[in-house]
Amino acid sequence: MQTIPDDITRHSRHSLTAGLGDTLRAEFCKLRSVRSTYWTLFAALAFNVTFAAVEAIFLPGRLSEHDKATLDGVRVSLGGSHLSQIAFSVLGVLFIASEYTTGMIRVTLAAVPRRRLVLTAKVTVFAATAVVAGIAVSFIAYFVFQGLLRGENLRSSIGDPGVVRALIGGGLYLAVLGLLGLGLGAIIRASAGAIAALFSLLFVPQVLVQLLPDSWKTAIGPYVPMEAGSQIFSQHREAGALSPWVGFAVFSLYAGIAVIIAFVLIDRRDA
C-alpha cells in the first residue's frame, strides 16, 4: 500500500482551491438527493403563485383611491415572498444543520478535512441553486399576477423601468435569506435552534422598531433586515426607505456576517 504524493496538500501548487471541484460536486449531490430540498422549493413556488393569484383576483375590487396612487403592483405580485422566504431560509438551515443534527457532519469532515472548503462549497452550491430557484419563482408569480389581473390598476409590463430588477431582486432576496439561514445553521449546529434564531432576527426587530419613538423609527427602521432587503422587490422607491440596491446591500451584510462567523468557528471547534 503506497501513499500517493499528488494527494498531499503541502505539495500542491493550488492548495487553497485543490479539491474544490470535488467538494462542489459532492455538496450538489447532497442537496439534490434529499426530498426536503424539493418540498421546500415547491412550497416556495406554491406560496408565491397562490398569493399572486389571490391578490390579482380580489385586490383590484377593494382598492381605495389612495391605494391606486401608492400601491406598487410589482411588490404586490411578489407578496408571497413573505411566506416563501420561510421555505428558503429553512432550506438554508437544513442544508448544514441537518448534518450536525444527524451527526453526518463527521462523515463530511472526514472526507474533506479542510472545513472552510466544505463551507465554501456549501455556500456556493446553495447560493447558485437558490438564486436560480428564487428568480424563477419571482418571474412565475409576476406573470401569474399580471395574467389574472382585471383592469388597469396595478398593471405593469415586463419592459417597464424597474420591473426586471425587482423580479431578479425578489429571487436574490430569497437566496440571501437562505444564506443567512445557512450561516446561522453552521453557527448554531442544530436545525431547530437555527430556525428559531433566524425568525427572531427577521421578525423581532420589525416589531421592536414599531415601539420606538418616531425619530428613532425613521433612523433605524429602514435598516432592519426585512425592511432593508424587501426594497429590492419594489418597482418604485417608497418615501423614507433605502434605495433598492443599498437596501439589498444592508440585507446581504446580515447574511455575510453570519457566514463569516461560521467560517471562523468551523475551524476552531471539534466536530
Partner: protein
C-alpha cells in the same frame, strides 16, 4: 500505519486522552480496548482529524490526516453507523462521498455488492436496521480502497452471520497488507479477530502487545478440582505450595500447580476426585485484571456499567 506520539486531549478540566503513544502496524488486525470513557472514541476522532489534540500528534501513513486532499484514498473510517442523513438513499450517500474524493462511480456499486446492500441501494437509509447501517458504514470506509481502516464497534447490531462475514472481511483486508484498527466491547470476538491489542484506561496506555504476550501478562490459568473430601485435599495442596481457594459450590480453585501434580497428590492420599480440569486464562479475565483500576463508571456491586455514552 497509524502512529500516535504523546497524544493528549483535554476538555476543560477533564483529561480524555493523556500522553498516549502507540503504533498500529500494517498487515495485522489491531484491537483497541478500554473501558467506557477511557478515550477510545476520542482517540479515533483525533486519528481522522475530527478533534484536534491538545498536545501531541497522530499520523496516518506518515502525515496528519488533514494534510490529505483526498483522505478517503488513505483512510476509511466507521465511527458511528447511525450518523447519516436518513432521507438519503444508500446509493446517494456513497455517491456524494465518492464525488468528494474524486472516486469513480463504479466503486459505489462495487462496495454495495461487497457488503450485500445492492438490493436496498435505492432505499432511504432512515429505514435501515442497525446492522444494515453498519454494513453501509463499512461500505463507505472501503470506498476509496484505503490502506488504513478504522472501525469503532463495527459488529454492534450485526447478526451472527454478519459478525462472521465482517471477521472474514477484515482478516482478508489485513492479509492484503492493510492496517486495521478495531474497537469492540465483545472480548470473545476480539480474541478470535485481533492479532494484537492496544489497551487504554483513563486515557493512558495500559498495554500494547500481541495476544500471546497479553495473556502471559495475566494471572495465568487455574485448575478446578471437585472432591467429596475437599477440605482435606485443600490442606494437602496448600502444604505442597499451591494457592487454593474454596468456592461456594464446594469446588477448589487451584493456582500455581498443574493438573498432573494435583492428580498425583490426590492419589497419594487416596482422595477421590469427581472433577479435575485445567482452565487457561481468558482474554476477558486478563483484560479485566489490567483495566481493573481504570474503570470510570462502576456500579455499586463492583461490576462496571456497560452502556456506552
Amino acid at each position: 500505519m497509524i502512529e500516535a506520539t504523546g497524544l493528549s486531549k483535554r476538555y476543560g478540566e477533564t483529561v480524555a486522552v493523556d500522553d498516549l503513544s502507540f503504533i498500529v502496524p500494517p498487515g495485522q488486525v489491531t484491537g483497541f480496548l478500554g473501558p467506557n470513557g477511557s478515550g477510545k472514541s476520542t482517540t479515533m476522532r483525533m486519528i481522522i482529524g475530527l478533534d484536534s489534540p491538545t498536545a501531541g500528534v497522530v499520523t496516518v501513513n506518515g502525515r496528519r490526516y488533514g494534510e490529505y486532499i483526498r483522505p478517503l484514498l488513505q483512510v476509511g473510517a466507521l465511527l458511528d453507523a447511525r450518523a447519516i442523513h436518513g432521507g438519503r438513499s444508500a446509493y446517494n450517500h456513497l455517491l456524494w462521498l465518492a464525488l468528494s474524493n474524486g472516486i469513480a462511480r463504479r466503486r459505489v456499486d462495487e462496495v454495495l455488492d461487497q457488503v450485500g446492500l445492492r438490493s436496498v441501494a435505492t432505499k432511504r437509509v432512515g429505514g435501515f436496521s442497525l446492522g444494515m447501517s453498519q454494513r453501509l458504514g463499512i461500505a463507505a470506509a472501503m470506498l476509496g480502497n484505503p490502506s488504513i481502516l478504522v472501525f469503532d464497534e463495527p459488529v454492534n447490531g450485526l447478526d451472527p452471520e454478519g459478525v462472521l462475514w465482517f471477521r472474514t472481511l477484515i482478516k482478508s483486508l489485513a492479509s492484503q497488507g492493510r492496517t486495521v484498527l478495531l474497537s469492540s466491547h465483545l472480548m470473545s470476538e476480539m480474541a478470535i479477530t485481533a492479532d494484537r491489542f492496544i489497551i487504554i484506561g483513563r486515557g493512558r496506555l495500559i498495554a500494547q502487545t500481541s495476544v500471546e504476550e497479553l495473556l502471559a501478562r495475566g494471572d495465568g490459568g487455574f485448575v478446578l478440582v471437585r472432591s467429596s473430601q475437599a477440605s482435606a485435599l485443600a490442606a494437602m495442596l496448600k502444604n505442597r505450595g499451591a494457592t487454593v481457594e474454596c468456592q461456594t459450590d464446594g469446588t477448589l480453585r487451584v493456582t500455581a500447580m498443574t493438573t498432573e501434580t494435583v492428580g498425583a497428590i490426590a492419589a497419594d492420599i487416596a482422595i477421590v476426585l469427581m472433577e479435575l480440569s485445567a482452565h487457561s486464562p481468558s482474554l476477558e479475565a486478563t483484560y479485566m485484571q489490567l483495566t481493573g483500576d481504570s474503570v470510570e463508571y462502576r456500579t455499586s456491586d463492583g461490576a462496571s456499567a456497560s452502556d456506552e455514552r
